[in-house]
Symmetry: C2
Subunit: 124 residues, 2 copies
């Protein structure tokens, strides 16, 4: 059985390769995918596969960080979506068979820094 860390990496490798059979093989049949920012939820491997296959953009993912620990993992991924850069943060839960049972995704957007902390901060 793969570790949490290995499975999270395999998930992104399969997604980037559009290897949907390999991607599906990592998912529990009753996987739940949640997007807290939009309060959207997708239930089940079939619907979640379709969501990914149908996604209407040309995207590429590069894993910046993966942290795995027993039945949990987290990844920080840099996406290129059409011409734009976008970070994605994903939290994974695994079932007893090592399959992904829950994914919670966050897609933070750039914003202007609040005033009042320029004395502590540099921009990069």
């Amino acid at each position: 059985m793969m570790t949490a860390n290995e499975t999270a990496l395999a998930y992104w490798t399969a997604a980037e390769a559009r290897d949907w059979a390999g991607f599906a093989a990592l998912l529990a049949e009753n996987v739940v995918y949640e997007l807290p920012q939009t309060r959207e939820r997708i239930r089940g491997r079939d619907a979640y596969l379709r969501f990914n296959i149908e996604y209407p953009a040309d995207w590429h993912a590069k894993v910046e960080r993966v942290v795995g620990d027993g039945r949990h993992a987290a990844t920080w991924t840099r996406f290129t979506v059409d011409a734009a850069e976008q970070d994605a943060l994903s939290f994974f839960e695994f079932d007893a068979d090592g399959l992904i049972s829950r994914i919670t995704d966050f897609w933070p957007e750039p914003y202007e820094p609040p005033a009042g902390r320029e004395h502590l901060v540099e921009r990069y």
Copy 2:
């Protein structure tokens, strides 16, 4: 020496308690804090402590998830800032002494779900 998991939890416990001495004791002197959304960077324990102590809002943090693995950890925290709810995602790096040497924070905001995936998605 605490594990990555334990140190990440202790960081949030100290922050929530405004135990700034305990908080500082977890940080490497040359800690770097980065906010990719605003491209802000804070260098050093003293500046990062001031940033937290001076933060101009009444906030409370509840840890939803912590994942730790060797010299890395990730946390998902639910914040209440004044009356608003806000998720925070934090990626930690640790030095050889187990001190936090780098923190990368993301603060995703709600957004409207894109059209075209209603057949796959429920709202919650």
